[in-house]
Symmetry: C2
Subunit: 479 residues, 2 copies
């Protein structure tokens, strides 16, 4: 393999889509399959997803949320029980209609989400206030047969996620869960994935099919397009009424329960990789990197043995960072630098004969290419503090990238201009579905992202319809 075929052939700033695809595929994180829109999560990406799930799962469990598993296939009559829900999902449902040689009596949906298969069980299990709260979660796969152009991780017809489904006796208890869950997602996204996002409520048009309201976390891709991350839906009694999830309260009165759902998906892998990567390839945040360090010995015939020996000692010393030692004979150091840069390992340690003489290695940061000579005796401490700096730097860069693109619009012209300049625009908004439809049409795809919780005073009317604005809302072009 020569550098030309293994490296990325376009600049991220010039052709983001092509850069992204090459970065993901050439680094061996994902691959296409014969099923359009469905990808392979190769070990290098699945490892990251496993880390994310572990972090989130532990926090869910601490909260008292328990894991379970419901069937993949949902009978059509169940999927249709909540009107808005079925309207939202049915255009994207993959249907099983045959088994073996037989035609099925009823079509079975491959779950696009599991409300309609879980809630008949909830209805059966919940009889009394003593059975509440019920807080369940699944880590599974779902299928949404979108007809838009698929992109690895960012838009795939099958993806992996958690789906939390919780049931409470009162609205207050249900809503009190919101900040906890958003806090868990915010922690993993900010402190592990090193990404800054916008948190707020979705507009009436963009909320989840069946929810009373949706809280979302929105991210800005390098091409100026916004993309939705984890979300939390408060469903009120919409599903509990459709599925008869009711209970006798302490006064023996029948009450309908209040419900929430929430999710983080493998799409976030794509968001993370897209935002942190550069022209050389991926940059994996240290806390999620399987191998946090790669050691590259620079081999010459006369010093080879000694260099390899010291490289192995360093590997042992750095064990807790799970270092890779690339001692392959048939590749040049330069080739190896490129390969591991492509794959995004946070720190490279170079060790040549001259370094050895000085009892040092050259440490190279993946995020900013900074080089530093460090004494071998200090190596563990230096690696540790550098990893922290990289993690921090990635988050700060992500925050800057987001904040530098936020603008506020007071009139329609500014609004349109900002959107076409790929900005995220905060604007006064009536939060009516029709008005948002018009905005989308007239701006060629401008969409509300979310409505920040801390609202400033609204001084102007709705940016589009000029009627009363009820919220200040973020808009952007979305992926």
């Amino acid at each position: 393999m020569s550098k030309n075929t293994s490296g990325i052939t376009v600049k991220k700033s010039e052709d983001f889509s092509e850069w992204y695809t090459q970065a993901i595929i050439k680094s061996e994180l994902a691959d296409y399959t014969d099923v359009s829109g469905c990808i392979v999560f190769r070990p290098a990406s699945y490892q990251i997803w496993e880390k994310i799930t572990k972090i989130v799962d532990e926090k869910f469990k601490k909260e008292g949320i328990q894991n379970c598993y419901f069937p993949l296939l949902i009978p059509e009559k169940l999927l249709s029980k909540e009107k808005e829900h079925v309207e939202g999902f049915s255009p994207e449902v993959a249907w099983v209609t045959e088994a073996g040689d037989s035609q099925l009596a009823e079509r079975l949906a491959v779950r696009p989400t599991s409300e309609t298969i879980m809630y008949p069980s909830f209805s059966k299990w919940i009889k009394s206030w003593k059975d509440l709260p019920l807080r369940l979660n699944q880590w599974n796969n779902v299928v949404r047969w979108e007809f838009k152009h698929p992109i690895p991780f960012l838009r795939t017809r099958e993806f992996l996620w958690n789906e939390g489904h919780t049931v409470f006796a009162t609205k207050e208890e249900a809503e009190a869960e919101r900040d906890t869950i958003i806090g868990i997602y915010e922690d993993v996204v900010e402190n592990y994935m090193a990404l800054k996002g916008l948190i707020g409520k979705k507009s009436e048009k963009e909320k989840f099919a069946g929810a009373v309201y949706t809280v979302s976390m929105e991210y800005l891709l390098p091409n100026g397009k916004a993309i939705q991350g984890p979300d939390f839906h408060h469903d009120g009694q919409n599903f509990s009424k459709a599925f008869e999830i009711n209970f006798l309260d302490k006064d023996e009165k029948k009450q309908y329960a209040y419900q929430n759902t929430f999710a983080i998906t493998t799409r976030m892998l794509g968001v993370m990789l897209a935002i942190h990567g550069d022209d050389k390839g991926l940059v994996i945040p240290p806390k999620l990197a399987e191998n946090k360090v790669v050691i590259i010995p620079i081999l010459f015939d006369d010093s080879k043995e000694k260099i390899i020996k010291v490289a192995n000692e360093i590997k042992k010393e750095l064990k807790k960072f799970n270092p890779k030692l690339d001692d392959r004979d048939d590749y040049s150091p330069g080739w190896k630098y490129h390969e591991w840069e492509l794959k995004g390992i946070p720190i490279r340690l170079e060790l040549g004969p001259k370094d050895l003489e000085k009892n040092q290695v050259v440490l190279v940061r993946r995020d900013n290419s900074e080089k530093k000579e460090i004494k071998i005796k200090d190596i563990s401490k230096e690696v540790e503090s550098t990893l922290e700096k990289i993690q921090e730097n990635l988050f700060i860069k992500s925050e800057k990238h987001l904040k530098s693109s936020l603008v506020e619009a007071k009139n329609w012209n500014d609004f349109k201009t900002a959107l076409s300049n790929k900005k995220i625009v905060l604007a006064p908004f009536c939060n009516k579905k029709d008005c948002e439809e018009y905005i989308k049409d007239k701006t060629k795809g401008g969409k509300s992202l979310n409505i920040p919780f801390s609202q400033q005073k609204i001084k102007e009317p709705c940016i589009h319809c000029k009627k009363e604005a009820t919220v200040m809302c973020y808009f952007g072009k979305s992926y």
Copy 2:
């Protein structure tokens, strides 16, 4: 709820099927759904599955096997590539034929197993001997639309499993993996699930569709029926030739690779629960029990406060066993005993006013109902050693149950009698497919289980056809 409705209403020895269903459902481990043959894994069973996957997964990773994720849906043309494989699976495939309002151009199989979606990628990735071995694994869900009567865990149309798929340059390397993998499964089944099984090669008729040979672990249910547990398949070059998984060896010659696959499934939850349970309900092996201890304070008005206080201190002391403290006011101690016996918690600690006077608790073992008064100061040590004894006892009982049913048959009459007496029969066998078909017919379902690795000298001809026997093979009635 009265005892009559919540407890199990039949004896395990009198009606195993009904006992099993009641034990699984009433203990809240599983529930039926509106999709026939697909169950809910409620938290109490999913927790056990999570523990099993964690134990196995850690061992796979230590071995260098990496996790990944391939698509759920497999195009029909790929499923058909290996002839025996498609013949084996197609009668049970659930087919997606529609998406949204569209008819798909090609049917997509919901994976019954993933060889045919994974191996086109393997073919693409593997070019040189340097790319080998490739050792991948997935933890996922599969669907096999069996038309036999479904039973929770033991036979479900969707189940969870691991599927290991490994590729090696040589037959020797591939086969060397066998003992490692079987060893990992044996460890989790014997030392955690506390089950003894029979390990050996499947017959020619019963091996995996597409394999050169299959190694299986077989278990004996309380009703005398045998059931297959984890398995390992050596596929030789069958799939590598069908899917063009080849590579240039060190001499630049094209070679086809050698492959293995292996799996453990959620069926094992059913096997474990069926074997260890008794008339009172489930018995969960201590190493897999989420809560290893339940503390039941016996409450009277005058001592209630003090008892609850001490019970809480004990709970704290026993923290590492994740104890439950059942201090509910509205249930009698007797009711609580029954409930936690039904759910299979290994140790019950009873604490009443008289115990408190003597600074003791009454410890009750779930596996044999043994009661013992222990001093509160010794509680942690006593619980620990009792849990070990329970774990050991369950395994010994399971081993006795298996061994007491093994017989050897020298002639056809003995063979038939033993099978109809629900024994597992070791018999000389020609290992021909037709002969096994006849055996199955003539014994109303007698089936080969497996062929033990350590073979005694074969002195007789085949138990059925009287031609030369090539192996001593276990036969049984199977689930």
